[in-house]
């Protein structure tokens, strides 16, 4: 054991800690504390900028109006806001059942050889760059099945990003459900599906809610795959087969422009996006908590 030997070599004969060692202890402690506080401070700084620079852009019209050409007074993020809500909800509707089902498949149907494959595939999809998912959905739907840029394609791209998040988080939660609960259910004569749907899933509902929140929050902020699928739209659209705007796309458009006024609008849109993500998380959590009673 080389480590043990080196440890022994470093221990002084008398057990008093020398000033030099004590100084090093303090320095290192200060350095690691600084790293942690610095990392946390980044969050505060970034959110601070978003709030301070974004707030001046906000007024009622900003939420309701569509983006207007430069030089025209007003203009906002109305279509983008609607688009983000549509895309996130639709993506959620697609991704949540698939994610939860694959988690159930992995934890409750452990016998087969397929369970590890499903789990591994979920991990690999989670690791894919979102732009690659965008390229895939473009080739599959925008060029293929649908034939043009569409909200539906964007939602499916977001769903592909959400599925592994839901699957992996729910899986962890389902594993926490005590085995004795399943056994109790089965002992009472309940069929398997009943045990899973009426005992295991409800027991894990708080964790499942968190998984859904994480996934929706992550999807709502995605930009790259939407560039290749939902494309963006300067007008209000609720047609799933037409291009649709989304807040991240709107931020990109405003930020990449040369106009100061649009830069302020980009900060404003960011504030709205961060607010939407926070509100969405809060609302989902409350809804699930209420439903649980």
């Amino acid at each position: 054991m080389s480590t043990a030997a080196s440890v022994m070599a470093r221990v002084p004969e008398r057990h008093a800690v020398s000033a030099r060692r004590r100084a090093r202890e303090r320095t290192m402690q200060a350095l690691v504390a600084l790293s942690a506080v610095g990392a946390a401070a980044l969050l505060v700084i970034i959110l601070g900028y978003v709030i301070v620079r974004g707030a001046p852009a906000l007024n009622l019209a900003f939420f309701t109006e569509r983006p207007l050409p430069f030089g025209v007074e007003g203009g906002g993020v109305g279509p983008a806001l609607v688009g983000t809500v549509i895309l996130s909800l639709l993506a959620g509707v697609i991704a949540i059942p698939i994610g939860i089902a694959s988690a159930i498949f992995v934890t409750e149907f452990r016998s087969g050889r397929l369970a590890p494959a499903v789990r591994f595939a979920a991990e690999l999809i989670a690791g894919l760059p979102s732009i690659v998912v965008g390229v895939f959905v473009w080739a599959f739907l925008v060029r293929g099945i649908i034939g043009h840029y569409a909200a539906l394609a964007g939602a499916i791209a977001l769903a592909i990003i959400m599925i592994p998040i839901v699957a992996r988080t729910v899986e962890e939660v389902l594993r926490l459900v005590p085995q004795s609960l399943r056994e109790a259910g089965l002992a009472l004569g309940a069929p398997r599906w009943r045990v899973v749907l009426s005992i295991v899933v409800p027991t894990a509902r708080a964790g499942i809610a968190t998984a859904v929140v994480l996934a929706v929050a992550r999807a709502a902020g995605e930009t790259a795959p939407l560039l290749l699928t939902a494309l963006g739209n300067l007008f209000f659209s609720t047609d799933l087969l037409k291009p649709v705007s989304a807040l991240p796309l709107q931020i990109y458009q405003y930020a990449a422009s040369p106009y100061d006024d649009w830069h302020t609008k980009a900060w404003g849109s960011s504030l709205v996006l961060v607010g939407v993500i926070a509100l969405l998380s809060l609302a989902l959590r409350l809804a699930i908590r209420r439903g649980a009673r």
Partner: protein
Amino acid sequence: MTSRTADRTFAVGVTALALLVPLTLAAITLLVVLDSLPSIQRFGLSFLLTSTWDPVHAAFGAGAYLFGTLVTTAIAIALATPVAVGAAIYLTEYAPRAIRGPLAFLIELLAYIPSIVYGLWGLFVLVPLFRSEIDPFLQRTVGQVPIIGALFSGSIVGTDLLMGGVILAVMVLPLLVAVTREVLLAVPPAQREGMIGLGATRWEAIAGAVLPYARVGIIGAVVLAVARAFGETMAVTLVAGNSSTTVGPSLFTPGYTMASAIANQFTEASDPLHFSALVEIALVLLVVALVINTGARLLIRRVASGPQGLVL
């Protein structure tokens, strides 16, 4: 419906939905490979080694994009790793219980800030700061050192490879902290107790017994962060310049990453070969992500699950 058929139906339904996950992965891989074939056949290996990107003359080499991606990723890892490991050490070894949770939570929340918001912050806050203060300072000091100085030579524009790396560093930080923290938590307390029992200070116990034990896991965390940085698109697209197709030593050169190339050119690629070349870039990103994630997860699992071996 008897409970037996109900059970069967349930099992079939769950299995069908679950199998969509590996099917999706297979479909992604298949389609991306198929669409890159024209470009692969036309350019072969030179695609990654040359850096002529000329849609007009249908000559495509993604070397400069690959270079931009590698450089920004390297900067990100170099900047983020020490901070993340330090933060993880503080959170697991030193932080008082009362602030441990809130601090970890704040760092975790960094992962939920959308990429585009990082990009916006980078473009309008960091870029001006680097252009007027930090870049000139680096050029005056480190820039004068022979050899290394070349990294900080040239004119300063602000939106460059260095900036891309800096914003990526911030973005991979939460992932690095989270995984490193998990790895450190998996180090058995006996490791620390042994050294402290021998008279070591806490730092000596960390450096001598905790970090060596966790080393493989931390490497796994870094590799995962590499994968994340490699494919990150929007923030880098906003701050890294997107103009240069030259490969040079200066970090002050405006750069272009593979992911940014796709994001910027995909919807405008009318020529089939241009399109195929962009998809081949996506294929490179896909392969790198698959290889790295498989490897890193095996590494981390080996550490986190201890000597029992790995259960996939």
